[in-house]
């Protein structure tokens, strides 16, 4: 009997190598959980036929060619392309869209023998913090089905926590990996911008988007990150190998910066703040040097994000017009086809952001919104870069409050956006960041801590989390 919900990638790998279990056992357990739980949770939009992949993975193991993820079941977010499979970005306009190529990240997982069991639900085009914006229904939090799993990678996280896979891929533009990971008590990692290829990932806000792993612990995050982090010529912003090597830093983390001005904000949940303070005391007892720091511009990250992101969304989503692929609504002329296909094909939040982006880029508002926000983005990036000359990592909570109820924040967009107040800082400044579970709220939901690190020091950041995660649980 395998307890899938407790099993890590690392342990499963050992069991597979020692022939304790077979790939079929492992995948079978996940498929069983999918069958039992997916109807209620709505974590997966589609389950793939994996018979051949299971056999191939077992052959790799039997012939001594296994990698650390051979035979490991994984789900991918519905905005990551997998050739020959539907990839809809949870949008109605792409309900039947079949990918004509695979993301190199997917390619890498397949080559390594991982078994992709399905594609997971998400907020449409990754826009949302609760997975309530999917055209295919709300995903529920497996720990409390009256609550949201967070978003936009809510389906990926819900699938992992409910035992439908052993790790999942998500994408993070403003917090979409880390916030749902925090809401469901698992680890979510957003790599440094440019370290994981965006080729084959639907562009939402391309200056911020990154694919990253969602795992049960930091060690698994390290394993998966090793597979998906590489230079790719198909992504013009992919970081070249020599720059990766040049910036490697093996030194142990010693100094933890805490930006109290950013953390202790109006509206932060009392227990969230208390828990964070306890975590910091524990880390101090462990011998880390805690440095109170001041990041005066960082609190503006979310406002900057809500200008640049919709601007990029409005341009990136212009390709969905019902002409070459996707759903077309006919009309008397071409312009009518565009307007009707988009009007009927896009959900409410998507329309909101495309419209907002069109506004901030329009004549008369470009300088005061877009240009101003880009300058702020640069200033915030510099503020973080300079701060990492003084400290090794920066700690905040991941989210200002634990998982909220389904429907609680759908009527007020700004209230919803505030979920990303801490996480968006890392997307604005391009740095790596990770959410690690620590403790529980009195309402039973998991609490969390968020660490960001110096640009390119992704491994150092994850290694630090491996060292401390058991101590702050």
């Amino acid at each position: 009997m395998i307890n899938i919900q407790e099993l890590t990638v690392k342990e499963a790998h050992k069991k597979l190598l020692s022939k304790d279990i077979t790939v079929e056992d492992l995948v079978g357990e996940c498929l069983k959980n999918i069958k039992e739980k997916n109807q209620e949770l709505n974590a997966l939009l589609e389950v793939f036929d994996v018979k051949d992949d299971v056999k191939r993975a077992q052959d790799m193991i039997d012939s001594g060619k296994a990698t650390a993820i051979t035979g490991i079941p994984v789900v991918i977010k519905d905005n990551i392309l997998y050739k020959g499979h539907i990839s809809s970005s949870s949008s109605k306009i792409l309900s039947n869209y079949k990918a004509s190529y695979s993301s190199p990240v997917v390619q890498k997982l397949l080559e390594a023998g991982a078994v992709i069991v399905g594609r997971s639900n998400m907020d449409e085009f990754a826009m949302g913090s609760s997975t309530e914006n999917s055209a295919y229904g709300v995903t529920k939090n497996p720990l409390d089905t009256t609550r949201v799993p967070g978003g936009s990678s809510g389906g990926s996280v819900s699938a992992l926590v409910s035992g439908m896979c052993l790790f999942a891929l998500g994408s993070d533009t403003g917090g979409s990996i880390r916030q749902p990971a925090a809401f469901c008590g698992v680890v979510g990692f957003k790599p440094t911008y440019g370290l994981v290829t965006r080729y084959g990932l639907y562009s939402m806000a391309n200056s911020f988007d990154q694919i990253g792993p969602i795992t049960k612990d930091s060690h698994d995050a390290k394993i998966i990150n090793d597979f998906i982090s590489f230079y790719d010529k198909n992504d013009a912003t992919s970081i070249k190998e020599e720059i990766r090597q040049k910036n490697k830093n093996d030194k142990k983390v010693k100094k933890i910066g805490v930006p109290w001005g950013l953390v202790d904000i109006e509206g932060i949940d009392k227990e969230t703040l208390e828990n964070f303070k306890n975590n910091i005391s524990l880390l101090e007892k462990e011998g880390y040097e805690i440095v109170p720091i001041d990041l005066p511009l960082a609190p503006y990250s979310l406002a900057v994000y809500y200008i640049i992101m919709p601007a990029e969304v409005s341009t990136n989503l212009s390709r969905f017009d019902g002409i070459r692929y996707g759903n077309r609504v006919s009309d008397k002329d071409l312009s009518g086809v565009y307007k009707k296909s988009r009007g009927e094909g896009f959900g409410k939040e998507t329309i909101r952001r495309v419209m907002l982006g069109t506004y901030v880029l329009s004549h008369g508002y470009y300088d005061s919104y877009y240009k101003k926000a880009v300058n702020m983005k640069n200033a915030i990036t510099k503020e973080f870069d300079d701060m990492f000359e003084k400290v090794d990592v920066i700690a905040t909570p991941t989210t200002p409050s634990p998982a909220f109820k389904i429907g609680e924040k759908t009527s007020d967009p700004v209230e919803m956006y505030l979920s990303d107040v801490f996480t968006s800082t890392a997307n604005i400044s391009g740095i790596p960041a990770i959410s690690v579970p620590t403790g529980k709220h009195s309402n039973g939901m998991p609490l969390d801590i968020h660490f960001s690190g110096r640009k390119y020091e992704d491994e150092r950041l994850i290694d630090f989390c491996i060292d401390i995660e058991d101590k702050i649980k």
């Binding site: 004509s100 070459r324 495309v354």
Partner: protein, 95 residues
């Protein structure tokens, strides 16, 4: 900002919206813009940051796809005739 501005934006964004949707968007815009307007009070000046990545160029050559890829792409056409993508008439002779 008023409802006419929303109508203009929806034309620019090529999205068909009814009056109810436009009214709701106008309300949303007010609260979102009030939130993002906080950056107007911050003075940063022009800040240049150094990027490690550089422009990536490639030869502008035709690379053909394999038959399976072409098949998948063609299957995605919303409308087609004799294997070609079909769209509405773009130029019309109104005489």
């Amino acid at each position: 900002m008023n409802i006419d501005d929303i109508t203009k934006l929806s034309e620019l964004a090529r999205i068909d919206l009814d009056t109810e949707e436009k009214t709701a968007l106008l309300e949303d815009f007010k609260s979102i813009l009030a939130y993002v307007d906080q950056i107007q009070s911050v003075e940063t000046g022009d800040i240049d940051i150094k990027y490690d990545d550089e422009n990536t160029f490639r030869e502008d050559t035709v690379v053909s796809s394999d038959a399976e890829t072409i098949k998948i792409i063609k299957e995605s056409f919303p409308d087609q005739e004799d294997g070609f993508l079909k769209v509405n008439t773009v130029l019309r002779n109104d005489d």
